[in-house]
Symmetry: C2
Subunit: 192 residues, 2 copies
Amino acid sequence: MSLKHAILGFLSYQALSGYDLKKVFDRSVRFFWPANQSQIYRTLADLHSEGLVNQEVISREERLDLKIYQITAAGQAEFQRWITTPLVPQDYREAFLIQVYFGAKMTDGEALALLQNMSQELEAALGQLSEMYRFYQEKIGAAAASRDLFYNMLTLEYGIASNQAALQWIRSVQARLAGGDYSPRTLADLAG
Amino acid sequence: MSLKHAILGFLSYQALSGYDLKKVFDRSVRFFWPANQSQIYRTLADLHSEGLVNQEVISREERLDLKIYQITAAGQAEFQRWITTPLVPQDYREAFLIQVYFGAKMTDGEALALLQNMSQELEAALGQLSEMYRFYQEKIGAAAASRDLFYNMLTLEYGIASNQAALQWIRSVQARLAGGDYSPRTLADLAG
DNA sequence: CTGTCCATGTAAGGCGTTACATGATTGT
DNA sequence: ACAATCATGTAACGCCTTACATGGACAG
């Protein structure tokens, strides 16, 4: 289960509360592994009962206890095992492509409107990813990135590359539909 | 719920049994919306109780009844509404990127092994998609594609484009890691 | 005579979402 | 005064997966 291991990954750098973890997720891996609050708390409870994390409870009169989670040796071992184990390819789901698949059931105008909407979403996402990338670049300045930052940035590069590929696909579809041209590409075109 | 609408989409072409639908899914939208057998049967039951499909039961002595599902007028209307309605962007999950994000916790050699494995998966997927694409191309021959086939093929183009983008990203990471070079790209590089 | 295809489903469990609940502190 | 932030959780529901169950027809 990936959420468990992502949490262990963050705790391998420092002990954190559930609340802090939620913020860390939202600022780092959100775009390829979003996690909501309830889920994080439940997963922390699971990790605790499995002995992969320790819980330090800090009582604060009148307020809810603060719970700080530390990774255990067993947790470290499990994390190491997981990150170096090749994953079986997961299912990919993209509901938008179902709409495209059945595109012949709408007018080309309706299809163009869906594509237009999708391209706006993709551009917004690209903007966010680029901004995060620039933020990292400023942090490292002229020097070479640390290994930590380097690997972090690779995930942003992946996100940027795949969103750009999707946008290029949309442009190519828009061009064909605008001209009433229902010709598919050749595989050579697609390879270029 | 997308599975419901994908089923309605197929039934809008012809009446099918659950068994047939499973085969149709596996031969068409599997790579962006996989569906397993139990799920299809349960969803058909739901669609039936919602009046979006009719059930024609064909008794066959000694064997299980054959149930053929036909889309109703209400089903057609619901399908039309859905395919032309822009979707709110869904969450994207890619566990492999969690491993990459925490890449600094392994050796570069371990990271390269994961990348190598991933690139093999991607190439296998690309091979399948290209084969499906060629199959469509042969079906249409020299003539222009029908609107139906054109839109079907667009989803394959999308899959091919995004897998190729992922492969290029892997190549670029491999080149850097092989040279012990932890430098990120510039955004201009990424845009090219 | 063994396995695969045809054809239907149920049961249990996992992961994720949304909504609900509490209550102090800090900022505008 | 009001909203946002801090900080924890529970409850209910939905979708998907895996495993189980049944049993005839047909091919090698």
